[in-house]
């Protein structure tokens, strides 16, 4: 599974209208992608569904970039 690609799909789903070309590993959620705290929580719910993992709200707060989210998901999936 291409984690990065699945996260991109989840972002497009929960944050319609986002500039898809900006969804890179370096992209920051709140800056580059203009997501707010509510849409970040929506994203975590979508990622839970996509990857079958659990993402508590406190872990979400530490995520700054798409790449960081991908790393966290990969770690969780390996466990």
């Amino acid at each position: 599974m291409d984690v990065q690609e699945e996260i991109k799909k989840a972002i497009i789903k929960v944050h319609p209208g986002v500039d898809e070309s900006k969804i890179t590993p370096e992209a920051s959620f709140t800056g580059d992608l203009e997501m707010d705290s509510l849409s970040m929580v929506e994203l975590s719910l979508a990622m839970e569904d996509s990857f079958g993992v659990t993402l508590p709200d406190e872990e979400l707060a530490d995520l700054k970039t798409v790449g960081e989210a991908a790393e966290l998901i990969k770690t969780k999936m390996e466990k």
Binding site: P16, S39, E42
Partner: protein, 409 residues
């Protein structure tokens, strides 16, 4: 000196059309929007009919991102508000944004979103609940979203008075403008409660008709009426001071000259049979206007046995013998009951009656009820020159709300 308050624009999303003009054309043709429920599977419901808004595309009125996190009731409000602003040609800018307000209420709020998320909570647990559920369900999300979409920064309220909501929202905005608190306002109501819990709840309260024939179910003032048909939609007007309207060369559609609101202090769902508090509300709305001037009364006319009889009584008590020569009609016969939006759409219909010289009918009125003995404009629209109207709204909780609307001169 109180300001005179005029209506300079309106917009609507209704079961008969996605704008006011389409809705009006269907109303004067006596067309009904009532049909079998399509929004959810209603086969095991006792009530299987409603007046639903059809083919509404929220993305035509707002960004897809906004639409995704906005309940249908607030989407309707955004659409109606944008239409009203366009119709009035008012510009919201740094000169007027803090002097312009929004009072758009809802009877029920985001009940569809609430229902969906309660399902998520029960099936998957609290950690799976959407972070948007609170903003999506609270009634003030309609006025809040409209503020974001329009840039209006004055008073921002969502007034809740059940089926009187639309009338009270316009009434309170009228009062604020009249007394100099605001120069202009968007005012109206919205609801989207044709959902499983909405239909089941109103049905169990005995408010909805048990007649599942869409063509005959809503029959205000008819002897065989047995409840209302639930509807949905939004209606919003632009109100402003006469000074402001004249200054910017706006087309003045009508003037609001009175608003009366009272409470029954009686029962949570039933109206006071004597209509005593409704009489007082009508008298307050008349605000010194002679009953001789009234050319049309837009009835609350829900098609429930109790409402139509007590409303008739209240009209006769407040107007006297002249009540028999005033046309009274209920557009709920065609639109169902749009709940919080109903009163606002009905106020707009009063403007149209004044402008167009046509009174929409009460359809399905075939069997006279001795308790309902006024001229209800049965079944076909009527030509009439009307210079002043009253529009009545009553709601669960004992609300009685009446607006008086006149031709501007």
């Amino acid at each position: 000196m109180p300001e005179r308050v005029v209506i300079t624009g309106y917009g609507a999303v209704s079961p008969l059309g996605l704008n006011l003009e389409d809705t009006w054309q269907k109303l004067i043709m006596g067309n009904s929007a009532i049909d079998y429920i399509t929004g959810f599977e209603a086969d095991n419901f006792n009530v299987r009919i409603a007046a639903e808004v059809k083919d509404f595309d929220p993305n035509a009125f707002m960004e897809p991102r906004t639409a995704r996190y906005t309940d249908r009731f607030a989407q309707f409000a955004i659409a109606a508000s944008k239409q009203a602003i366009e119709h009035s040609k008012i510009t919201i800018d740094d000169e007027n944004r803090y002097e312009t307000g929004i009072i758009i209420g809802s009877g029920v709020g985001g009940i569809g979103s609430m229902e969906h998320q309660v399902g998520v909570l029960n099936e998957r647990g609290p950690s799976r609940v959407s972070p948007f559920i609170v903003p999506m369900m609270i009634c003030d999300n309609a006025s809040g979203r409209v503020s974001i979409e329009t840039g209006i920064r004055g008073v921002n309220l969502s007034l809740v008075s059940a089926c009187s909501t639309g009338t009270d929202s316009i009434g309170i905005a009228y009062k604020m403008i009249k007394h100099g608190e605001l120069k202009a306002a968007l005012a109206g109501g919205t609801d989207a409660s044709v959902t499983p819990i909405g239909v089941a709840g109103f049905a169990k309260a005995g408010a909805l008709t048990r007649n599942n024939d869409p063509t005959s179910a809503s029959r205000p003032f008819d002897a065989n009426r047995d409840g209302f048909v639930i509807g949905e939609g939004a209606a919003v007007v632009v109100l402003e001071t006469l000074t402001s309207a004249l200054h910017r060369g706006a087309t003045i559609l009508a003037e609001i000259v009175g608003y009366g609101a009272t409470s029954d202090a009686f029962h949570i769902t039933q109206p006071l049979a004597s209509g005593e508090s409704a009489v007082r509300a009508i008298e307050l709305a008349l605000n010194g206007m002679s009953t001789e001037e009234i050319g049309y009364i837009n009835a609350h006319g829900t098609s429930t046995p109790l409402n139509d009889a007590s409303e008739t009584r209240a009209i006769k008590k407040s107007i006297g013998s002249r009540a028999y020569s005033i046309p009274v009609s209920s557009i709920k016969s065609m639109l169902g009951h749009m709940l919080g939006a109903a009163g606002a759409l009905e106020a707009i219909v009063c403007c149209k009656v004044i402008q167009e010289g046509l009174i929409p009918p009460t359809i399905n009125l075939n069997s006279p009820d001795p308790e309902c003995d006024l001229d209800y404009v049965p079944n076909v629209c009527r030509k009439a020159k009307v210079d002043a109207c009253l529009t009545n709204s009553f709601g669960f909780g004992g609300h009685n709300s009446v607006l008086a609307i006149k031709r501007y001169s």
